[in-house]
Amino acid sequence: MTIRVVAAVDFGTHGSGFAWCPVDSVNDEADRKIYYFDQWQDQPVVYPKNLTALLLDGQDKVIDWGYSARRALSNAGMRSGAGDLRLVQGFKMWLRAGDTPANGHLNGTPQQALPLIAAYLRRLREVAVQHITDGGYREDEIRWCLTVPAMWTEYQRNAMRKAAERAGFPATPDRLLLITEPEAAAIHAFARTPAGAAELPIMVVDCGGGTVDIAAYRPEPGGRLAQLGHTDGGDLGSSYINQRFLTGVVKPRFGAELLAHIEQHAPDALQEMLDAFEGAKRQHDVGRDTPLSITIPGKIYQLLHSRGGLQRLARLQGGQDFHVLVDSADADKLFDGVVRPLTHLVAERIVDMRNLLGDRKAGIRIVLVGGFAQSPYLRSQLTAFLQKRYGSAVELLIPPDPARAVLAGAVHYTYQPSVVSSRTVELTYGISCSLPFEPDVDPARLRFVDDRGIFRCRDRFLVFVRNGESVDIDQTVSNELVPIRNDQSDMSYDLLATTEKDPRYCTGPDVRVLGTVKVDLGSAMRLPIDDRKVEISMCFGGTEIQVTSRNVHTGHTLRTALSFNPDTGS
């Protein structure tokens, strides 16, 4: 099927959207005409992202989504029986429940997240398909791309793919690509950089709602990008500032009881106030001398009035009751909880990048993207820090609309996936097998004799690619295995992953089993044992890893769908 349209979906913690671009001779150039959809129902402001929220009933059935979910809850609040309804947000981050996020903000599990993500993506896909097909294209002519945080593990990426398939997106990897958010942002930044000015290595700092992802890329000849070193990041999204605003500012001003009442009875209005706080975040800067004023939505204002909360608010705010006021010092404290650790992360990453480049004074261009990149306070603090420590060697760039950089970059990538030439492997990957026994190294308890009469060591980790290695896109690493027993009619092995660079045994504490593969030896059984070869290949460099097992004699090939283990968060 001819691909006539590429479309990217940015599924964010706070907001999600899609963009698309027709595949034609005009758009073959990097300066592509990308269309964004910005007409979401019930949105407060025209913007290419809808709210990542679902309204569920008592049986967890999805009633509405996006901003409409908030509106529907607000409307239902006026009727009886609305108590069963609940607005769910931030469920993307529930996939991280296997990890241990520093801010401990998860109130759901990966198992609970999957159907919610699928339900949300289904609605998003329906809108996207409607608008693309209205443009004269067919659904089967679309190649899709879904963005994922770079910090996500293979399991979490696989879970996103599964959720997308459940939502009706194509099941084949060539029709549904995955790309990490900082990589998409790097492609966008690279596409916008004028020719000749693109030689500097790029560090992308993607400050989203839930996480901050940092990744580095080196421009290569032919307008391509090669990943430089590992992806880094943390739970430093701007939503943690919102949480601190609620607990550290709103709670003392409104009173704990009244805030609890609002959370229970007017969650939509509370969300509206947090939207207003988002605006305030875009205004706060270093040295600001006037307080930030956050509009109190009418519903909360009238609730405060009827419960005597306005007098309390006015008393605490020097007579002002129309807004929540946050003075500069308090605002600085709210921001510093995220901005300081973020600055440290950037500094560490600059050191790593320079080590990898072999130049301790290498120039670096930092591209700040994501919704929180619009914060003048973050920009000022980061600029001041970079100038003080690195002078002009490190420059900070912020695209005109940093919140859309990921979406635009994902469209560019889907149009031309070869724009990325190589990626860094985040783990060591390999398989379990038996290898020749080394007396001074391997313990005797692992020693056994195979049917050729050779001493072998069981439980060895055969490394295919090492953590931190750079692999070209579609680079394949292969190894041939032969059976250890004459009567062995099949060969099975475990697919392994670990953070260790040189794992020796598959029983190491950090080694995770990603899946088990069994290959039938079939007619190869009539051959001498050393000719009963099975070739195992791992194709790296994509956002996911493809494993192929081939019986060399029969030619029978098994493409392996890795069954990730959610319990280990691997």
Partner: protein, 256 residues
Amino acid sequence: MTMHQAQAQHDGEQPQDVAGAMAQYLGDMGTRFTNYANQLHRLSQQRQGDLGQLRNELREQDAQLNNLLQLHNQLRVELSGAAEERHHTLAAGFKDLVQLKVVPTCMTVEAYCPSTHEIDMQKRRMILVRLLCRLLFGALPAMNSEVRDLFRPYAASAGPGAEKQAASLAEPLCAEVNALRAAIAETGTAFRWDFEVRPGSVYSPDKYQLWQTASEQAPIRHVVIPAYVVPGRPPYVRATVFTALAAQFGTPVQRP
């Protein structure tokens, strides 16, 4: 001797004639096959030429179709491209400016007024915001003197110090609004801040935002904060409207 030759001798025919006939026959067949092959080759070349021509036509039609689709998509108001991209940012800037500067400034100025009944205070706040928005976001650029004149009566009763303080709020506000106005003008697209509303129409949350103290049930009276409108597209920011003061506001307010 082969079976065929033996059979031919028995029938009294000369073997040489048979061989000649066979050779003739095979020669004819060979010529015919060669002709067929040449004919097929010619046909194949012709078809390949046709196919190439059809492919070219298809490519041209594909390009034409792409151009038509491109034009079609450019006319679709629900899609936004690079031209609309700037308005997303500017509209968010407008919303932030109103929420974080315009309305709080009005609250500061209104607070100079003496103690009063709550209904009057809430109405005064709303009217001040409405009048200030008219001055700031009207057809002509905002002027400091007009804004100062608007603030003066509110601060007058609090003394000359208050009057001066209120007046000092005008300049930075006008400067910010005019900077936003200039940035919008730079986009090169038609644009307006829209104050239009049909008085008496039913309030709909799909079309408008409601002023903080207004009732959802009452009909619309007027626009307090204008909509951010780019002709041909839905409003980037919806207008904030006033209906009537919600029933609960009615207690006296004591000010220090």
